[in-house]
């Protein structure tokens, strides 16, 4: 019985963990067109000085920024609205999509 419970628990954990790790840049592109592109550009090369360029930014940094906007840890009235409506999966997909776009930002010493 204990073994069964453990097995079930591990199975549930595996299921819960799996979607968070899978990033779908194509789904991210569809979401980007709908939500982000008007300000940040479809390729993440934002034309508006107040809005950051996202193209080629690190995937994990982009995802963290979106999570922080969603949680309110990072406060921005515009982004709170957009990020608040995103699921965890949307966030991972969007971050993967913009990270895969041509570099608009780089590392400079």
């Amino acid at each position: 019985m204990n073994t069964l419970i453990t097995t079930l628990a591990l199975g549930a954990l595996a299921l819960a963990a799996a979607p968070a790790d899978a990033r779908d840049a194509a789904a991210g592109a569809a979401k980007a067109k709908e939500v982000c592109a008007a300000c940040h550009g479809m390729d993440g090369n934002s034309a508006t000085p107040d809005y950051p360029k996202l193209g080629g930014q690190h995937q994990d940094y982009l995802a963290k920024a979106l999570r922080d906007y969603k949680s309110g840890a990072r406060k921005n009235p515009i982004m709170a609205g957009f990020a608040g409506a995103l699921t965890r999966q949307d966030i991972d997909n969007l971050a993967a999509y913009y990270a895969s776009q041509p570099r608009t930002v780089s590392t400079r010493y």
């Binding site: 107040d50 809005y51 690190h58 995937q59 990072r74 930002v105 780089s106 010493y109």
Partner: protein
């Protein structure tokens, strides 16, 4: 009396207007002299934060100067919470921020590094 009031009102408007318009102009060469505190993380491709969460530090060269300054101000005000960035931004003046933004936005920045 009304005239005096009007003149005073206009003068204060003009002052407010110039204060608002007075985001300092950035000087990339002066920014270069202030960049030491940035390089240790943002100058190393692939560098990750160690605390409080692990992720790649953002690539900042080529970023819009206006956004760059806004980000630093948000760290300084506490609106953005990364501990190291809060400490660093707190030490920067508006002029420092503008200079750093100009340095990182300079054309060479878009091509240097990878």
């Amino acid at each position: 009396m009304n005239k005096v009031t009007t003149i005073a009102a206009l003068a204060s408007l003009a002052l407010t207007g110039s204060a608002l318009a007075q985001a300092p102009a950035g000087d990339a060469s002066r920014g270069r002299e202030k960049v030491q505190m940035c390089q240790g993380c943002h100058g190393i491709e692939g560098w990750r934060t160690a605390f409080p969460e692990v992720y790649h530090v953002p690539r900042i060269a080529g970023q819009h100067p206006a956004y760059f300054v806004k980000a630093l101000q948000a760290y300084k005000s506490g609106e953005r919470g990364h501990p190291s960035m809060r400490g660093i931004a707190a030490s920067l003046t508006d002029q420092d921020m503008a200079d750093l933004a100009a340095y990182y936005a300079a054309p060479a920045a878009a091509t240097a590094g990878k």
